[in-house]
C-alpha cells in the first residue's frame, strides 16, 4: 500500500460512502477505510430507514438545512442507485386529547422548516387512513418516506468502487500522523497515505479526531433496540406511525415503521452505553417495545416477532445534559486538511446526500479535479426475482438458469442473486454481507434452510470453509472439519480485542 490517495475517507457508513460516490464523479484517488468486514455495519445499517421531512429538527440548525436538502433529492438518489424507496407518509399520533397542542407545535416547526402538505387530522380521518391504529388526533406528514438504509449504503459503496474508489474493509485506523498534503494513516498490516482525510467514523469519529490532537468532541453512544415483525402482519399499517416525541428524550419515541420489504419495525429504545460495540438486545426492552407498540396497535403478539437487533446512535450530547445536538461538519484549526463529521445521527441518512455535496465541494476546492468518465449516474443492482412479474422471471431464467434455483425460500432469493452478492465489488464475503445484499436468511426461518446452501456457494466461489465468517473479523463460522474436531485440532476461540 505505497499508493498515495488524494482523499482517505475513514468510515464506510452511509455518510462516508455517499462522500465516496460524490468524489467518484471526479478524477480523484479515493480510499475508504472501514473497520468492519463490510460497509453499513454501524449506525447506518441499523436504523428505521426513515427519510425524514425535517419536522423534528430545530429551525435554523445545520440538521434542519441538510435534512430538508437531502429529503428533496432522496427519491431520485435512490432511483439512480436502484434502492428501494417508498413514500408511505407518516402519522404522528396523539393518544390523548391533551397531546394535540404538541402536534400543533410540531406542525408549526415543520412549516417553518419548509415541510409541505402538513395537516392535523381527527381520529376518524386517522381511522380511515390507518384502520388498525387508535388515537385522538394525528399530524399527517404525507411526504415522509422510507428507504432501505443498508441497500443504499451498499449501493453507494459498490457504485463508487466500480468507478475507482478503493474500499479497504477490516481496516480499523489505529494512528494518524503527518499533515495536510501528506497524512500517514496506520491500519493493520500497513499505512495509507493521503493528502486529505474525511473523518466520517460515526461512533468512533471522536477517537479519530483525537488521533490528530482534536479533543473538543466526545461521542456518547446510545443504543436503540428494534424488533422485526413477520411479513404476515405487515399489512397492519399503511404509513409510519409515531408517537408524540417524549420531552427531553434521546430519540423520537418508539415508532412503528414499515420497511421497504414489507416487514414492520418496532423501536428504537434509547439507552446510553460506554461501549459503541455493545449492540446486544435485552429481554426487557423487547417486552417494552411490544407493550408500547400495542398501545397503538392492539393485538400485537410476541409470536409476530421474527427477531430483534440493536443500532447505536453517535450522540454529541450526554444523557445527563439531554436536548438537541447539532451536526458538526468542520475542518478545524488544530488539524487542517481533515474534515470532521461528528454526531451524524438521525436524520443522518436523509442528510447524507447533502452532506456529501458539502464535503465534495471542500475537497475540490483544495484539489481541483476533472470529471471521471468511469462514473455512472445510474447504477443497478442485480435483478431480484421477488420483485419481478412472471413473464420477466421466465425471461431471466432462460437468460441465466441460476435465476431458476431458489436458495432462500422465505425471501425468494435465487442462486444468481446470491452468487452476485458473493462476488460483490467490495470483497465483503461474510454471511451477513450476503444477507444485506440479497436478503437471503432475513426471513422467518433466519437461514435454517438456506444457510448451508449459501455456505456451499461460498465454497464453490473459492472461499475455504475456515475463512468464512458471520460478520467479518474474527466471527468465524466453522472452526475446522469434523475430522479436525475428532483429532482435537480445533483451536480455542479467543475474543478479539479491537
Amino acid at each position: 500500500m505505497s499508493d498515495k490517495f488524494d482523499v482517505a475517507i475513514i468510515g464506510g457508513g452511509v455518510v462516508g460512502c455517499a462522500i465516496s460516490r460524490e468524489l467518484s464523479r471526479y478524477q480523484l484517488s479515493v480510499a475508504v477505510l472501514e473497520r468492519a468486514g463490510d460497509v453499513a455495519r454501524g449506525t447506518s445499517g441499523k436504523n428505521s430507514g426513515v427519510v425524514h421531512t425535517g419536522i423534528n429538527v430545530p429551525t435554523g440548525s445545520r440538521k434542519a438545512a441538510l435534512n430538508v436538502a437531502g429529503a428533496r433529492i432522496f427519491e431520485d438518489y435512490c432511483k439512480d442507485l436502484d434502492v428501494p424507496f417508498d413514500r408511505v407518509g407518516k402519522v404522528i399520533v396523539a393518544l390523548e386529547e391533551d397531546q394535540t397542542a404538541d402536534l400543533e407545535s410540531l406542525m408549526a416547526r415543520g412549516v417553518a422548516n419548509g415541510v409541505p402538505d402538513l395537516e392535523i387530522i381527527d381520529s376518524s380521518t386517522l381511522k380511515r387512513m390507518e384502520p388498525n391504529i387508535s388515537g385522538a388526533a394525528a399530524l399527517n406528514v404525507p411526504t415522509a418516506a422510507i428507504a432501505c438504509p443498508y441497500s443504499l449504503n451498499i449501493a453507494l459503496a459498490e457504485s463508487s468502487a466500480e468507478a475507482g474508489v478503493e474500499y479497504m474493509l477490516n481496516s480499523p485506523v489505529t494512528a494518524i500522523s503527518g499533515d495536510e498534503g501528506d497524512f500517514q494513516i496506520t491500519i493493520p498490516g500497513g499505512t495509507v497515505n493521503a493528502a486529505l482525510i474525511v473523518n466520517s467514523a460515526g461512533l468512533f469519529s471522536d477517537k479519530i479526531a483525537r488521533m490528530v490532537g482534536i479533543t473538543r468532541w466526545r461521542i456518547w453512544p446510545c443504543r436503540g433496540e428494534y424488533v422485526i415483525l413477520d411479513k404476515r402482519v405487515g399489512g397492519l399499517i399503511n404509513s409510519m406511525v409515531y408517537p408524540v416525541p417524549p420531552k427531553g428524550g434521546a430519540g423520537l419515541g418508539v415508532h412503528i415503521t414499515p420497511t421497504t420489504d414489507g416487514n414492520i419495525l418496532l423501536g428504537p429504545s434509547a439507552d446510553y452505553t460506554n461501549d459503541a460495540d455493545d449492540v446486544r438486545t435485552t429481554a426487557k426492552i423487547r417486552r417494552q417495545l411490544l407493550k408500547e407498540a400495542s398501545e397503538f396497535l392492539p393485538g400485537l403478539s410476541p409470536r409476530d416477532v421474527i427477531t430483534a437487533y440493536s443500532g447505536m446512535r453517535p450522540k454529541l450530547v450526554p444523557s445527563k445534559v439531554g436536548g438537541f445536538g447539532d451536526f458538526v461538519i468542520e475542518e478545524v484549526s488544530e488539524q487542517p486538511g481533515m474534515m470532521n463529521l461528528i454526531g451524524i445521527e438521525s436524520p443522518g441518512l436523509t442528510a447524507s446526500p447533502a452532506i456529501a455535496d458539502e464535503v465534495s465541494d471542500w475537497v475540490r476546492e483544495k484539489i481541483p479535479a476533472k470529471k471521471n468518465s468511469n462514473f455512472k449516474g445510474k447504477w443497478t443492482a442485480v435483478d431480484r426475482v421477488r420483485d419481478e412479474p412472471p413473464e420477466k422471471i421466465d425471461a431471466l431464467i432462460s437468460e441465466d438458469p441460476a435465476y431458476g434455483e431458489i436458495i432462500c425460500r422465505c425471501e425468494m432469493v435465487t442462486r444468481k442473486e446470491i452468487v452476485d452478492s458473493i462476488n460483490n465489488g467490495l470483497e465483503a464475503t461474510s454471511l451477513n454481507a450476503i444477507k444485506y445484499r440479497s436478503r437471503a436468511t432475513m426471513g422467518r426461518c433466519q437461514g435454517g434452510f438456506c444457510g448451508p446452501r449459501i455456505i456451499d456457494l461460498l465454497i464453490e466461489n473459492g472461499h475455504s470453509p475456515e475463512s468464512l465468517t458471520l460478520t467479518g473479523g474474527d466471527s468465524w463460522l466453522f472452526l475446522g472439519s469434523v475430522e479436525d474436531l475428532r483429532k482435537g485440532k480445533i483451536p480455542a476461540v479467543v475474543e478479539a480485542t479491537n
Binding site: S481, V482, E483, R486, K487
Partner: protein
C-alpha cells in the same frame, strides 16, 4: 428384582417394568409396545450395547462424508474408544450401503458399514 428401564430401540421409548434376577435373567417385561423391548432389556441389564453411528470422510465422492454404523451394537463403554480407533479412517468413493468400511471394529465382532450410497465424481 424389579427395575424400570426405558427401551431405547425406537423413539416410542417404552418405560418397561422389568422383573429379573441375576441367576434367571429377565423373567417378565411389561409396559412395552413391541417385542424388541425384551431383548433390549436383557442386554441392558447384563451386557449393555449401543449402535455406533457416525461418518467417515470420503475421497472423490458426491458427498464429503459417508454415514456409517456398526452392523451390530458394540459394548456401551467402548463407544469413545471406537471413535478414537476410526479417527484417521478415510473411505474412497464409490460406496454402497452395507459396504464394510472397518471390519471387526476393536475386535468387537461388529463391522463398521456404510449407511449411504456415495457415487464417484
Amino acid at each position: 428384582m424389579n427395575t424400570t428401564l426405558i427401551c431405547i430401540v425406537c423413539p416410542v421409548s417404552c418405560p418397561c417394568d422389568v422383573e429379573w434376577t441375576q441367576e434367571d435373567g429377565v423373567i417378565k417385561v411389561e409396559n412395552n409396545q413391541c417385542k424388541l423391548a425384551f431383548e433390549y432389556v436383557e442386554g441392558e441389564l447384563f451386557d449393555p450395547r449401543r449402535m455406533l453411528t457416525t461418518s467417515v470422510p470420503v475421497d472423490g465422492g458426491n458427498w464429503p462424508l459417508v454415514s456409517v454404523k456398526t452392523h451390530v451394537p458394540i459394548p456401551k463403554d467402548q463407544m469413545l474408544e471406537a471413535m478414537k480407533a476410526i479417527e484417521g479412517i478415510r473411505a474412497e468413493a464409490p460406496i454402497k450401503v452395507g459396504d464394510v468400511i472397518v471390519p471387526d471394529l476393536l475386535g468387537t465382532g461388529s463391522d463398521l458399514v456404510a449407511t449411504r450410497n456415495v457415487t464417484t465424481v
